[in-house]
Symmetry: C2
Subunit: 437 residues, 2 copies
């Protein structure tokens, strides 16, 4: 993509309304624009990252045997009356009356609707287990939306729901999602620590939040340092196998949010204790028959008797993740995208458009990168070098290839790795080989 | 995907509420489930087709130089007051008050919001032309939603918007979208005829509807038979070139919807006149400064003076297309998906699960198809052969590979092409070669 033909309105100054670094940088990089309080338009650069994050989430859900469907944004109030949540949910639910004065709402979550789909079709224990998910825009009418996409009102969420015949089955589903979440966040370059969360009225230990450690995090968290040093992606997962041992390996060391914090256990860690700020990016939750009971979602069990299905739900804040990734990966100059979610792999900077040697060399690099299937943003604008360097650092593409008139004469380009700042003068072949590595 | 592990709740009977064939078949094939009047959940099979249709739309927009962004579903009423449409739009607009009693709405279209984005960032004629699009859920509160996804309330639409300095530029943008639309629909196996549509208050001839001919169409249409016999995809398009000749080639022969019908011109066609029912799947529209003027969207022209930008909008009903494709491509037994949008390329039918030879042969075919990157739905259920044949015809996958105990002993399978009904007994190698062709 040539930047002269792209739509990436970068800003020189921090927008006054932005309080945290990810919000500032997303606005300055031209990734999002606020449409109303807590509601954002995703400009082309931001949308590219959103789609990459969404794709990683989807791939890991699919790998875990979760089936994708798509529920609508607008729901009928009737289902929420069945579960008893219509009155409980309070003002965060965006309530709507249609032209026939029927009570509707913009879904803040989907337990009711998925339970309704399940009970309409699934009749027998032989059809279980079922793990279903969708990735859809949700709305929660926060009283004070802030921090950009980190706490917006309209946000993209992946929510999965498991249906099982008994607690043992529900636990297997929970463990699958537990492991899938570890892999999902690791693929985005994040260290997400599963921490025991409040299981609410259900009790038990089957509720975990996945927390990113970042100095700008919204809450205080505590964990064993060992949890922050693990390699998650080193071995493949067999989702057909029993994953309990793997889950235990993560849940045995101490890790807790402020609400669940146990000072004595934390103190016992000595210098292995990490105290940090955390950002929640996922939450998995077993809730048994909380919805199947009031909504009468049963299957015929092995002896023909109706059995209420055991359920769990599993959420990832997809749009929120963009903020979390930036909070965890940036420097003074801007964003530092992990390779897996970067909007383009390479930024190609022509320091002197109009100069024959620069243009030819850039055209050559651009064509060869594209031919190799590498996504490249080519800054062909007539701007000062300083503006180009600042914009390229700000938008945080993993690699920069910088072409100036002096080097271009000798066929040399500068290759810069955004994360480390390491720079090298190389010939074009060597530069392309470095990037492809 | 093994059908035993999939979620595809097929129905034996036509649902009573469905009046047209596409609605009946989408319900029976387990593609969608109605959540509320005119609001659907997309079950896994339906979602797969929706994504394929969406991908074709996206690829052709990108090829035409249109940049993708994503605007939110919930908009502020303020922008619609600026354009004057908030009061005009009537009851089809879903109006909402948030917790702070601010007037919001679920976007039925996005002229106001995209104009607001444009005017916030684009300053100079040098930044033009700009073609922007998004693919997002819209809501129109139809008084009587019907025909399934063909006239739903919550629906997925691709809408593009062009911004140009003058009429000539706007015409170039219009022509790009005109040609991109021809290609988009042709890639889905559809014959879409561009027909002059009512240009409304703007006048002129720059408004076309793209109409699929189908006996169950919603409106009467007329056109020159020559338009129905053209090969659209035979030659590549250069979107940098002047496309006026190509557009003229399509707009010169007679083609009109009922509202624009000219009986004398139609009669002059003699036996080349096609009278048919039509389904609108796209609409392109030039509207000049209709929004830029009240919303003051200007750029600095070549002499520094502010110039109101010339705009057009270009819509494709993405979710509606699934209904239109089925209306245009089905038979008594069910859907006949064109290869390009089929949810799976191949349905593999094991007529006797548990039979050693059948299972081994099916496992082999399944593994080899997957290895070749072919998407296959493997019916491994313990159901009667009749049920399996009926389901497979109903869901309309382009190829069926049928494995029964007699053939399996000799390594033979039956390959059936869904569209033609042609069947052949073949060895596995020959069967796979046939499908890959």
């Amino acid at each position: 993509m040539r930047l002269s033909q792209f739509f990436m309105p970068t800003l020189r100054e921090d927008p006054s309304e932005a309080q945290i670094v990810s919000h500032k940088m997303m606005m300055r990089a031209g990734m999002v624009r606020q449409a109303s309080a807590g509601i954002y338009s995703w400009l082309p650069l931001g949308l590219r990252v959103l789609r990459r994050v969404e794709t990683i989430v989807r791939e890991e859900q699919d790998a875990a045997g979760c089936l994708e469907l798509l529920m609508p944004t607008i729901q009928s109030a009737d289902l929420w009356r069945e579960s008893g949540r219509y009155d409980d949910y309070g003002k965060e639910m965006l309530r709507i009356r249609d032209r026939h004065d029927r009570e509707m709402l913009f879904g803040p979550t989907n337990e009711e609707l998925i339970t309704d789909i399940f009970r309409a079709y699934v009749r027998s224990y032989r059809d279980l287990p079922k793990l279903l998910y969708h990735i859809q825009w949700k709305f929660r009418d926060e009283i004070r939306p802030r921090f950009g996409v980190m706490r917006g009102r309209e946000f993209l969420m992946k929510d999965s729901y498991s249906f099982d015949l008994d607690f043992e089955g529900a636990k297997r589903a929970y463990n699958k999602m537990f492991v899938a979440y570890l892999r999902t966040f690791a693929r985005m370059g994040l260290k997400a620590i599963p921490m025991r969360a409040d299981p609410g009225v259900i009790g038990g230990d089957m509720s975990h939040e996945f927390i990113i450690l970042a100095s700008t995090g919204e809450s205080q968290v505590y964990c064993d340092r060992a949890l922050t040093e693990r390699d998650v992606l080193g071995t493949a997962v067999d989702y057909g196998a029993d994953l309990q041992t793997e889950v235990d390996r993560w849940t045995t060391p101490y890790a807790a949010t402020d609400e669940m914090h146990d000072a004595a256990k934390a103190a016992a860690l000595g210098d292995r204790l990490v105290e940090a700020r955390g950002i929640e990016v996922g939450h998995i939750f077993y809730f048994g028959t909380k919805y199947s009971k009031p909504m009468n979602a049963t299957v015929a069990g092995p002896n023909g008797e109706p059995v209420l299905v055991e359920m769990g739900s599993y959420g990832i804040g997809v749009s929120r993740l963009l903020g979390a990734i930036i909070e965890a990966s940036h420097d003074e100059a801007g964003i530092v995208w992990p390779d897996s979610v970067a909007p383009f792999a390479v930024g190609l900077v022509n320091l002197k458009p109009g100069d024959g040697a620069c243009d030819r060399l850039c055209d050559d690099v651009y064509a060869r990168l594209r031919k190799a299937g590498t996504e490249v943003l080519y800054d062909d604008r007539s701007e000062r070098a300083g503006v180009k360097f600042a914009d390229m650092d700000l938008i945080g593409l993993p690699w920069q290839v910088i072409v100036g008139p002096r080097g271009a004469k000798g066929g040399q380009v500068e290759v810069k790795r955004r994360a480390s700042g390491a720079r090298d003068e190389l010939g074009v072949d060597a530069a392309l080989a470095r990037i492809a590595r």
